[in-house]
Amino acid sequence: MAAAPKTNTEPSYRDIDRSVLRVMEPAGRAYWAWVGFCFTLVGIAAGFWAHQIYSGLGVTGLRQPVMWAIYITNFVFWVGIAHSGTLISAILFLFRTKWRTAVYRAAETMTIFAVATAGLFPLIHLGRVWFFYWLLPYPNERYLQPDFRSPLVWDAFAVSTYLTISALFWTMGLIPDIANAREAATGWRKTFYTVLAMGWQGTDRQWRHYSMAYLLMAGLATPLVLSVHSVVSWDFAMAINPGWHSTIFAPYFVAGAIFSGVAMVITLLIPMRKLLGIEDLLTEWHFDNLAKVVLLTSLVVSYAYITEAFMTWYAGDPIEQTTFHMRYFGPWGWMYWVMVLCNCVIPLLLFSPRIRVNLRALWVITIFVNIGMWFERFVIIAGSLTANFEPSQWASYRPSLTEIMITVGSFAWFLGLFSLFSRFLPIISMTELKEGIVWLRKALKRDRVRAAA
C-alpha cells in the first residue's frame, strides 16, 4: 500500500485541514456496526463482572496459591500500552522529533483509553470492590488511612495521576484543532465543537501561554511515564516471591511497556490510515521510525530476559533457580518460549528497512509483539506464583470463562472508545502537522520515489 501516485506531495495547510476534517464527517453504517459490536462485548463483560461481584471471586479460576493472574496481567498489559502514547507525545516532543507530529494524537488518545482500561482491572480483581476507595486517603471517622508503604497505594496514585495528566495534555493539544473543526462543521456538530473549543482563536497571547504550558506539561509527563511503569513493576519487585523479587524490574518493565505500546500504535494506525484515507498524512516514513522504536525496545527487552536468567544463575539461590527452571521448562514453559519468539526473535526482522515500510508485514509483526508482551506479563505474574516457597502449596491455574470474557471485553472497550474518538475528534494534530509541514512534504516525496521504483 505504498502511497498512491495521486497523492499530492506538496500539501498546503489547507490540504492538511481538509484531509483531517474529512475524517470527521458523519460516518457510515459499517462504522456504527463496528462500534455497536464493540460495546455489545463490553456489555457482556459487564454482565460477567456484575455476576462476579454478586457471587464472589470464586467464579474466577484463581486459587491457592495463584491469587493474581489474568486480571493483573491485563492491568500491566494496558498500562504498558499506554506508555508509548506519552513517549511519543511528550518525550519525543522534548526531543523535537520530526516524525512524531502525525502520529502523536492517535498515540496519545490510545494512552488515555488504555489507562482507562487498565484502571478497571485493579477494581475488577478486588474481593470487595465496593470498598475500593479505602485505597485513597480521605478524612474519615476511623482515623484509618491507607498504608503508603504498600505498592498498591503507589499504584493508585501513579495510575490516577497518569490518567489525569495525559487527559489534560491531550485536551490542550486538541483545543486549537477543535477550533478548526468548529469553523468547518455545521449543525449540531458546530455547537458541539464550539463548546469544546472554548472560544480558542489562536491569538498571539493564547499561543504564548499555550506553547509554554505545553512544553512544561511535556516536561512533567516525561518523568511521570517512567515512574508509572516502574511503580507497576514494583508491585512485583517489592514482593519476596521468587520470580518477582528483582531489581531490574523497573527499567525492564518500562522498556517492555514502550515496546508493546509502540507496537500497538502501529497495529492501530495501519488499518486506520487506510480506513480513514489519510495515507497522505501518515507516510511510510512515520511507520519506518515507529518500527525502529519497536526494534530498539525489543532488543532492550531481550537483554532484560538474559540478565534475569543470568542473575538467577549467578546469585545461586536454589529457590529462585527452581522457580526460573519452572518458568522455562515447567508445565507453562511453552508460554515463555512463545514470548521469546514474539518479543525477541520476530522483531529482529525489523532490521530490514524493506520490512519496516512493508505495512502488511509490519502489522503482523506488531500483533505478534502484543501477544508476546501479554504472555510475558502472564508468565511473570501467574507463573511465578505457581512455583512459590512452599512446595506443598504449588498448584497450576486455569482461567475461567468470567476472566476470559472480561479480558475480551477490555479489548472491545478500548477499541470501541478509540473508534468513537477517531470519527469525532481530529485524529491527527493539524496544528503540529502544519508546523512540521516541510518534513511531511519530504516524506511524501520519498514515498512517491519508492512507489515509482
Binding site: 457471587s55 470464586g58 491469587m67 485505597l135 506443598s392
Partner: protein
C-alpha cells in the same frame, strides 16, 4: 461453671435456646428469628461467657472424657477432659467432630413410617410409639426371643436398659455391635490369660516398641492415649549414659501414619505379621533373651516356634533375616519393651503377648487391671447368631440403634437379606443411613451429647456422659423410648422411667458407702469431674501356656491382595457424614472426599494404571472401584484401601462418596486375595497438596538422635542464617509478645489441631469441588513431605509438621496491604482485620508459608450446622482474606479475666485451640518476652533442635519448631 445443677441448666437452656439460635446467625444474613430475652435470668449464665460441662466421647470405644464448651445454650466446641486419665485433656479429630453429628443438617427430624409400598411418610410421636408398642406386644406374645435389640455399645447403664427392654418382651436377644471390635486381641488374651478385656499399654514405660500392624496413632484401640505415650517414648532422654529415643518398628503392608513415625517400616504382606512376630520370638528364645521369672516352659516354647527360624520366615515374608534378628535382640535387651498387634488374626496378637510376657514386660509396659468392667461388645459369634436368627425369620421386631450393619457388615453376612426377613425393623438414630433405608419405623434419637450416658472403658474408669444442650431436633433418647415402650407393653415393670433416672440410679449405687458421704454430693461431683476415676490395681495374671503348643498358622502367599485399614478420620464409616472429617486430608496420602486404591509403582506398572485411573478390585466377597494413588508408601503386590467411604445414604456429606471397602472383606478380616483391573475410566483424586518433595528447603527439618547426642546441628541445604538481620531499629514489644514452640518430633500428624481450628475459628468447609479448585480454608494444615532420593538416607520416613501463620515480626504480608487490614499488633501478633480487608490478596501472594486463606464465596453452614459457630469469632464474608491469629479471641478472653481480677496473666492461662487439642502436646503457646514461660523454656531446653521455617527469608517468625528426630539407618 461446672457446678450448675441439671435443673437450673435445663431451665436456662429452654429459655436460652431461641436467643442462642438467633445470636448464632451470621451477621450477613437477616435475622430469621426474634430475639427472646431471658424471662428469668439464670444466675449461672452471663451472656457472652461460656460454660463448660464434662461428658464423654462416643465416637469410638476408647471412651475419652470430654469437656463441652457452651455458649448461650449451644455447644460450640468439644475439648478433652483433663480429669480423664485416658485422654488427659486431649481429643482426636473424630471426637471433636462429634459436634457436626449433633448439628448435622441431615438428622432425622420426625418419626417416619414406611408403608407397605415402601414409601416413607412422616408420623407423629404418638403414632410412632403406638405402632412400636403394638408390634412389641404382639411379638412378645408370639413367643420367646421374637424381639431383638441391635445397637452400639453405649455404656453399662444403657446395656442394662437394653437388656431389661428385651427381657420385658420375653427375649434375651440384645446385641452390642462394634464393626472394629479388637476381637483378635480379646481372643489372644482369652487364650493366654483367660480374660477377654483389652490390656492396658504403657508405651512410655518401654524403650523398644514393635507394632505388628497396629495403627496405634490412628484408629487402634485408644489412639489419643497411645499417641501421648508414644510421644513420651520418643522424647530424647538419657538411657545408660547416652541420650536416646525409644526404638520403634512397624511391621505391616502400608506406611501408615503410625509406621511413618517409627524408626523403621518393615513392609510385609498383610497377614504375614504373625510370621515375623513368631520369628522374633524364635530369636529371643534361641538367644535365651527371656526373663527367668517368666512362667513359660522355654523348651516347649522353642519347640512351638521352631518353624519360625529367621531364615525360614525371611523366605516366606521377604523380611531380611538381619532385620528379624535385630528386632529380636533389641527387644530382648531392652529395659522395658512392648509388642502390639493390630492384625485380624489372633496369631500375631498371641505372639505379641508372649513376646511381652517372656521378656517380663507384663505389669510394666502392658498390664491388666483388677475388676475389669463387664464386656459391652458382643462377640462375632453372638452377632452372627443374631443375624442368622433374623434370616431364619425368628425375629418379629428388631430395634436398631446407633449401628449400621448394612454398611459395616461384610457381604458374606448377607445382613440386608436378613433384615428383609424381619417383619418390623425399628431404626433409632440421627442421620438415616443404609440400615435406616430398610427400616419400617424410623425414630429420631438423641445424639449422645444430648442424652444421659456412661462409659466404662476399663477398670477403675467410669465416664459420665451428661447432656450438654437442649436437643436440636424433635428427638428422644433411645433409652427413654425403650423404657417407655417396655412400660407400656409388658407386665414386668422396669425400675426406671427414663434413661436419665437409670444413669443416676446406677451412679448413686457407685457412691462410697461411708456414713459421712452424701450420695448427692458424689453425684454432683462426678458430674463436675465427668466421671469417677479411681486408683487401679494390677491384676495377677495366671498364664495358660497351652495355646502355643498348638501349631502356629502361617499366612498364605498371595499374588495380589487388598489391604483395608480404617480411615483415621472416618473410622468404620461413622465419620463420613461430618464435613470436617471429609475435608481433613488423610495425613499420609493427603487425600480428601474420596476413597482411593494406594498401590506401589511396581504394582501400578503391572496393572498398567497410573494416578486417578479407576480400578476394579475384586475379592471372593465382592468388588469395589476406586481411583489409583501410586505411592511407594505401600508394599508391592498390595492394594491399600481405606475403610469408611462408600455410603449410599447417611446424609449429603457421606452419600455417594467413594466405595464401601467392607463389602470386599470377610467377616473380621482386614485383607483378602484380590484381582484388579483398570476400568478405563478415571476420577481425579482431590488433595490440597502440591508437591511432596521439600527440595531441601527448611520447612520441616529433622536431625538424627545420634547428632543430637553428639551435639551436632545438621547442615541444611538452605542458606545459613547467622542471626536476625535488622535493617532498621527493631520494634519494641513492651508487654507480651506471643510466640509458639512446636515439637515436630512429637507431632504425629493426627490433625486434631486442624479440626480444633475449624471448630474454634468458624472455618468453613468447601467440599470436594472447592478443595479441587484450591479453595480449602484450613488455617492450620499438616505439612507432609516425602524425603527425596538425596535425603532418604538420613531423614525420617515422612516429614509431618503443622504449618500455620508464623506471626512473623517482619511479616511480608503486612507492608503490602494497602489498607492496614494486615498489620502487627502491640503483642506481636500478625493481625488480620476482616472488616478492613478489600481483598487485593497481595498478602497471600507475599506469604512464603502460604497460610492465608481467601473467601472466594460466601461461606455456608446449612442449618443447623450454623448453630455450632463460635460467637467469639467473626464469620467472614466473601472477598476477604482470613488466617490464624493464635486464637486472638482466647488471648483477649484471658487478658480481660486477668484485668477484671486485677492481676498479671499467668503463663499457660492462654491455650490456643490447636495446642489444647494436641494429644502429644507438641504445641506450646506463650509469651516470648517471658523467658520463664513454658514456651520459652521448651525452646531453651532443646536449643540444638530449634529451627524456624524458611528462616533465610528473615521473616522472623514467632513460631520456633523443634526438629524431628530419627535414628540413623542401620542403627534402628
Amino acid at each position: 461453671m461446672r457446678e450448675g445443677t441439671s435443673i437450673s441448666r435445663r431451665s436456662f437452656i429452654k429459655l436460652a435456646a431461641t436467643a442462642g439460635a438467633a445470636a448464632a446467625i451470621p451477621g450477613c444474613e437477616p435475622a430469621a428469628r426474634k430475639l427472646i430475652p431471658y424471662v428469668v435470668p439464670d444466675e449461672n449464665v452471663v451472656p457472652g461467657v461460656p460454660s463448660f460441662f464434662a461428658t464423654t466421647c462416643n465416637e469410638c470405644p476408647a471412651g475419652c472424657g470430654v469437656v463441652a464448651r457452651i455458649r448461650e445454650g449451644r455447644v460450640v466446641k468439644l475439648e478433652g477432659n483433663p480429669a480423664d486419665p485416658i485422654g488427659q485433656g486431649a481429643l482426636c479429630a473424630r471426637g471433636q467432630a462429634a459436634l457436626q453429628g449433633v448439628y448435622n443438617p441431615d438428622r432425622l427430624a420426625h418419626p417416619q413410617v414406611r408403608g407397605g409400598d415402601g414409601a416413607i411418610r412422616t408420623a407423629s410421636w404418638d403414632e410412632a410409639e403406638k405402632m412400636f408398642g403394638d408390634r412389641l406386644a404382639t411379638a412378645a406374645k408370639a413367643g420367646k426371643d421374637r424381639v431383638a435389640f441391635f445397637g452400639v455399645p453405649n455404656g453399662p447403664t444403657f446395656s442394662k436398659i437394653a437388656l431389661a427392654f428385651v427381657a420385658a418382651h420375653n427375649s434375651s436377644r440384645a446385641i452390642f455391635y462394634e464393626a472394629i471390635n479388637n476381637e483378635p486381641t480379646r481372643a489372644a488374651a482369652k487364650m493366654l490369660f483367660g480374660r477377654r478385656d483389652l490390656p492396658i499399654y504403657r508405651i512410655d514405660q518401654a524403650e523398644v516398641l514393635i507394632s505388628f500392624g497396629a495403627d496405634f496413632l490412628e484408629t487402634w484401640q485408644s489412639p489419643v492415649e497411645l499417641a501421648r505415650q508414644y510421644s513420651q517414648f520418643r522424647t530424647p532422654q538419657k538411657r545408660r549414659g547416652t541420650l536416646t529415643i525409644g526404638r520403634s518398628a512397624y511391621v505391616g503392608p502400608r506406611l501408615s501414619m503410625t509406621a511413618s513415625k517409627c524408626d523403621e517400616w518393615i513392609a510385609t504382606a498383610p497377614g504375614a505379621q504373625a510370621d515375623v512376630a513368631w520369628s522374633v520370638l524364635n530369636v529371643l528364645v534361641k538367644q535365651g533373651k527371656v526373663s527367668q521369672n517368666s512362667d513359660f516352659d522355654l523348651a516347649a516354647l522353642g519347640k512351638a516356634v521352631e518353624n519360625f527360624d529367621p531364615a525360614a520366615t525371611s523366605a516366606r515374608t521377604g523380611v531380611p533375616v538381619e532385620t528379624i534378628t535385630r528386632l529380636g535382640e533389641t527387644f530382648g535387651k531392652a529395659d522395658g519393651a512392648l509388642a502390639i498387634a493390630g492384625t485380624d488374626d489372633s496369631s500375631a496378637h498371641l505372639a505379641a503377648m508372649i513376646l511381652n510376657s517372656v521378656t517380663g514386660n507384663f505389669g510394666k509396659t502392658i498390664m491388666f487391671f483388677e475388676g475389669a468392667p463387664a464386656e459391652d461388645t458382643s462377640t462375632p459369634d453372638e452377632v452372627d447368631a443374631a443375624v442368622d436368627a433374623m434370616r431364619g425369620g425368628e425375629i418379629d421386631v428388631l430395634v436398631i440403634a446407633g449401628v449400621n450393619p448394612v454398611f459395616t457388615m461384610p457381604a458374606s453376612a448377607r445382613v440386608a437379606e436378613a433384615l428383609q426377613k424381619v417383619p418390623f425393623v425399628v431404626w433409632m438414630g440421627g442421620v438415616p443411613d443404609e440400615t435406616a433405608a430398610m427400616a419400617s419405623l424410623l425414630i429420631p434419637a438423641h445424639h449422645p451429647l444430648e442424652s444421659w450416658r456412661d462409659t466404662a472403658p476399663r477398670a477403675g474408669i467410669r465416664g459420665l456422659g451428661q447432656p450438654v444442650m437442649q436437643p436440636v431436633f424433635d428427638s428422644k433418647p433411645v433409652g427413654d423410648i425403650l423404657i417407655a415402650a417396655a412400660a407400656k407393653t409388658s407386665s414386668t415393670k422396669l425400675p426406671w422411667t427414663t434413661a436419665a433416672e437409670a444413669v443416676k440410679a446406677e451412679w448413686l449405687a457407685l457412691a462410697p458407702k461411708a456414713e459421712d458421704e452424701n450420695p448427692e454430693d458424689f453425684w454432683i461431683n462426678v458430674r463436675r469431674e465427668g466421671g469417677s476415676f479411681e486408683e487401679q490395681h494390677l491384676a495377677a495374671l495366671s498364664l495358660d501356656t497351652s495355646p502355643f503348643k498348638a501349631a502356629v498358622p502361617t499366612a498364605a502367599q498371595m499374588e495380589l491382595s487388598v489391604y483395608a485399614y480404617p480411615h483415621i478420620f472416618l473410622y468404620d464409616g461413622r465419620g463420613a457424614d461430618k464435613p470436617w472429617l471429609q475435608e481433613l486430608p488423610e495425613p499420609v496420602t493427603q487425600l480428601v472426599w474420596d476413597s482411593w486404591a494406594e498401590v506401589h509403582p511396581d504394582t501400578a506398572r503391572k496393572l498398567g494404571v497410573s494416578r486417578d485411573d479407576i480400578i476394579e478390585i475384586k475379592t471372593e466377597h465382592g468388588a469395589i472401584e476406586a481411583p489409583v494413588l501410586v505411592e511407594s508408601s505401600v508394599r508391592p503386590g498390595v492394594i491399600a484401601v481405606p475403610i469408611g467411604q462408600g455410603h449410599r445414604a447417611y446424609g449429603r456429606y457421606a452419600k455417594d462418596v467413594g466405595a464401601n471397602t467392607w463389602t470386599i472383606l470377610a467377616a473380621g478380616a482386614t485383607f483378602a486375595a484380590a484381582t484388579a483391573r483398570a476400568t478405563g475410566t478415571t476420577r481425579a483424586l482431590v488433595t490440597p497438596l502440591g508437591k511432596s518433595d521439600m527440595m531441601g528447603r527448611s520447612i520441616v527439618e529433622a536431625m538424627s538422635i545420634e547428632q543430637l547426642a553428639s551435639g551436632v546441628v545438621p547442615k541444611s541445604e538452605a542458606e545459613e542464617v547467622s542471626g536476625p538481620f535488622e535493617m532498621y531499629a527493631p520494634w519494641k514489644y513492651a508487654g507480651h509478645k506471643w510466640g509458639m514452640t512446636i515439637d515436630v518430633n512429637a507431632c504425629t500428624g493426627c490433625s486434631a489441631c486442624v479440626t480444633a481450628c475449624y471448630a474454634e475459628n468458624n472455618v468453613p468447609t468447601v467440599g470436594r469441588d472447592g478443595v479441587d479448585r484450591g479453595r480449602i480454608m484450613s488455617w492450620i494444615r499438616i505439612e507432609r513431605y516425602f524425603p527425596n532420593e538425596k535425603e532418604a538416607a538420613e531423614a525420617p520416613q515422612l516429614y509431618l509438621a503443622p504449618m500455620l501463620c508464623q506471626q512473623c515480626d517482619h511479616a511480608p504480608c503486612e507492608p503490602v496491604c494497602p489498607v492496614f487490614a494486615s498489620y502487627h499488633t502491640e503483642e506481636g501478633l500478625n493481625g488480620q482485620v476482616y472488616n478492613r480487608c478489600v481483598g487485593t490478596r497481595y498478602c497471600e501472594n507475599n506469604c512464603p508459608y502460604k497460610v492465608r486463606r481467601f473467601n472466594w464465596f460466601v461461606p455456608e453452614w446449612p442449618a443447623p450446622l450454623n448453630l455450632q459457630l463460635n460467637p467469639d469469632v467473626t464469620v467472614r464474608g466473601a472477598g476477604v482474606m482470613e488466617k490464624c491469629t493464635f486464637c486472638v479471641q482466647r488471648i483477649q478472653f484471658a487478658e480481660l479475666n486477668a484485668k477484671t481480677e486485677d492481676r498479671q496473666l499467668r503463663d499457660g492461662e492462654i491455650v490456643t485451640a490447636c495446642q489444647q487439642a494436641c494429644p502429644t502436646r507438641a504445641i506450646t503457646f506463650g509469651d516470648s518476652n517471658d523467658p520463664a514461660s513454658a514456651m520459652m523454656r521448651r525452646r531453651d531446653d532443646n536449643k540444638l533442635r530449634n529451627y524456624r521455617a524458611l528462616e533465610e527469608l528473615n521473616t522472623q517468625p514467632a513460631i520456633t519448631y523443634l526438629r524431628d528426630l530419627y535414628r540413623e539407618k542401620g542403627k534402628a
